[in-house]
């Protein structure tokens, strides 16, 4: 059992916590967060040691490793503290907000020979893994075009993300750092890191302080071209939908969460695949996991972290070094955009007042949720009615 400390029990942190606790080799023994009410809940419901200070946690909890799932701007400091203390580190994506910082973390981890991993979970999805394998094995010949896309509904209203870190550039908010980085890392995973970003535009749909869309054009060392298109304000998608298409001299491969479709040109075959379309589904391509929550990939990546702690990291998992490559691409996209015509203002965060009660009720309605208010009374009324109906 490896003793794990987790910092940042938000949306992602609670999922990591549940998966780690169900894992045969990981035991999350300590939790750190900056919000007292979160820690109170953890203590009372889960009975874990809780800390307001990360430093105190790593000093006192006798840990083997940490999981860092705080907002992105805090990653660099927390990861460095953990590495210096000799701990294995799993950090949520993106690793940091600067390629130089990420490279420095990668160097420290390498120097101390510590397990290090970044939460790019697409690397653990069977369809994307198969795509990477096929491309590397030369199934589609020489690659000349890689296309990566992601769409979803993260920000769906003006002032969306209002008071959260997602609406603040300096904290790692915006579609580029929070969303596009997943696709960038996936493209790197499948086809290697581009050598140059030749064009980039960031755009806004709802947001005012960050971008909601990212479009970019890459060059690869072999002359191949990359195209990136991401939009986190696309209500047509129920949840984040990521895909990659790779075009080669012998054929092409399209992959998303559900399927991996290989097309081989006439006269070409590879392994058991003939020319024409070869379609395989996730049901066939995904390795099972011992505990499932939200998708095999989330468990598989922590499985890998446990393996890395045991000294058996696999080359397919994202490390600090590969995440630093993704951060470099992100940085270049921002720079190319800024050098272009009339860059979208992505500077000072809009100051947003705390929402009023009416605004909150309206917000709940926007998402199709119902405010339950102080409506214990309503609930009781409904319940009584039902009981009446049944008896």
């Amino acid at each position: 059992m490896y003793r794990i400390g987790l910092v940042g029990v938000g949306k992602m942190g609670v999922s990591h916590l549940a998966i780690a606790q169900a894992h045969p080799k990981l035991d999350c023994v300590a939790v750190c967060d900056s919000q007292a009410f979160v820690l109170a809940g953890i203590r009372s419901q889960l009975g874990l040691e809780t800390y307001r200070s990360f430093e105190t946690m790593i000093a006192e909890a006798n840990l083997d490793g940490v999981i860092i799932s705080t907002p992105t701007s805090s990653h660099v400091t927390l990861a460095k503290q953990a590495l210096v203390a000799g701990l294995a580190v799993f950090v949520e994506k993106p690793l940091t907000l600067s390629a130089a910082d990420s490279q420095e973390l990668a160097a420290i981890a390498a120097e101390h020979n510590l397990a290090n991993q970044v939460g790019y979970h697409n690397r653990f999805i069977g369809t994307f893994r198969e795509t990477q394998r096929l491309v590397e094995a030369g199934a589609i010949g020489e690659v000349h075009h890689i296309d990566g896309r992601a769409f979803g509904q993260v920000i769906t209203q003006p002032q969306g993300g209002g008071r959260t870190w997602r609406a603040k550039k300096a904290e790692g908010g915006g579609c580029l750092h929070d969303y596009a980085c997943h696709v960038i890392d996936l493209m790197n995973f499948v086809a290697g890191t581009p050598s140059e970003i030749t064009g980039a535009r960031l755009g806004q749909v709802h947001s005012t302080a960050v971008e909601d869309t990212v479009y970019a054009l890459f060059n690869y060392p072999n002359g191949a071209v990359g195209t990136l298109e991401t939009n986190w304000s696309d209500e047509a998608y129920r949840k984040m939908t990521t895909s990659v298409t790779v075009y080669g001299t012998h054929g092409k491969i399209f992959a998303d969460r559900q399927e991996c479709r290989l097309f081989l040109k006439p006269g070409h075959s590879f392994e058991k695949f003939d020319s024409g379309w070869n379609i395989r589904y996730i049901t066939e391509l995904q390795e099972p996991v011992s505990f499932y929550l939200r998708g095999e990939e989330y468990s598989a990546q922590l499985d890998h972290f446990a393996e890395a702690l045991a000294g058996n990291p696999s080359p397919e998992a994202g490390t600090f070094a590969t995440a630093a490559d993704a951060d470099w691409v992100v940085e270049q996209i921002a720079a190319v955009h800024a050098s272009g015509p009339a860059p979208v203002a992505t500077g000072a965060p809009a100051t947003v007042e705390p929402p009023t009660k009416d605004q909150l009720v309206a917000a709940a309605k926007h998402y199709g949720a119902q405010a339950v208010g102080s409506a214990k009374a309503l609930a009781n009324a409904v319940g009584t009615k039902l009981k009446g109906l049944r008896s």
């Binding site: 505990f291 709940a364 405010a371």
Partner: protein, 294 residues
């Protein structure tokens, strides 16, 4: 103990959920743009003898519940088995608004304010109250129809399972019993673990709904572990994803699942009368064959 029908009708096909293909999911969502289209499929299922609709708490389902309630003779004996929460809306809210504002938006009465201010001694009580309030809100749209079993969706149930906060599962069961006279059911992708957890909070024969398919898709721990749990541990098991999203041909998939006597019910989704009829027919045939001595 509430009897659960052998065959339950699911609702994934109406809402653009397809684990195999985004395109198929989209095509289905187009077809079921309006409530009427869904109702007409439900009517076909009713004609084929199906009386239980295992559904989400999607807004659209609320309209269907209203329609069924307004036509009691047409839907004699028809039951809803709702599963909550409809998690995407909450996940989207948390992403866009943050945890605290989401909770405040859901409970403008001030409960969360008090929690955030840190009345620490009452956190457990507050969490339980929050849970019951959210459940009640999701149940409001079913107030006029029969809901013998109320399910907790696997995103939440398995999260709580992983966190080992089993008391919350027990609290959910108690609440749906006392408030709605219903039995609690639990969706899970981790059936053997879930059943142990439910036993540990005193639910003796828990209703669990889990994947059960010939290729072991999303059966954490594997088919053998599932079969062993099914044979050894008291539970009432509903099999879902029997066709593994279409990876197994229907007859083969259903035959395999019908050979497992421990499985009480099978939930399936279909959009055409032909598919409904053939699924119901196959299950009945395989059941018949198993029950008839050779």
């Amino acid at each position: 103990m509430t009897a659960i029908d052998r065959i339950l009708f699911g609702d994934n096909q109406f809402f653009g959920v397809n684990h195999m293909s985004e395109e198929k999911a989209r095509a289905q969502q187009m077809r079921f743009r309006d409530t009427e289209a869904i109702i007409s499929v439900l009517d076909r299922a009713y004609d084929r003898g199906i009386r239980s609709f295992m559904c989400t708490t999607h807004d659209e389902i609320g309209k269907i519940a209203d329609y069924v309630a307004a036509n009691p003779t047409k839907y004699e004996g028809f039951k809803f088995l709702p599963g909550m929460p409809y998690a995407h809306k909450y996940a989207n809210m948390v992403g866009e608004m943050g945890m605290v504002d989401t909770l405040k938006a859901l409970t403008p009465g001030g409960l969360v304010d008090a929690m955030v201010r840190g009345a620490k001694s009452t956190v457990t009580r507050d969490l339980n109250e929050l849970m019951t309030m959210l459940v009640d809100a999701e149940m409001a749209r079913f107030s006029q129809v029969d809901t013998p079993v109320v399910f907790l969706q696997n995103v939440v149930a398995d999260m709580v399972l992983g966190l080992r906060s089993y008391d919350l599962l027990g609290a959910f069961a108690e609440h749906v019993k006392s408030q709605f006279g219903a039995e609690a059911g639990f969706f899970t992708m981790n059936m053997p673990l879930m059943v142990d957890a439910l036993h540990s909070v005193g639910i003796e024969e828990p209703i669990v709904c889990c994947n059960y398919n010939k290729i072991g898709f999303r059966m954490s721990g594997g088919i053998e572990a599932y079969d062993r749990a099914l044979a050894e541990k008291p539970m009432r098991c509903i099999a879902m994803s029997v066709l593994a999203s279409g990876a197994i041909p229907p007859a083969e998939a259903l035959e395999w699942v019908c050979e497992r006597p421990g499985i009480e019910s099978i939930v399936f989704g279909a959009s055409s009368d032909a598919n409904i009829a053939s699924t119901v027919g196959l299950i009945n045939d395989f059941d018949q064959r198993r029950l008839t001595p050779a």
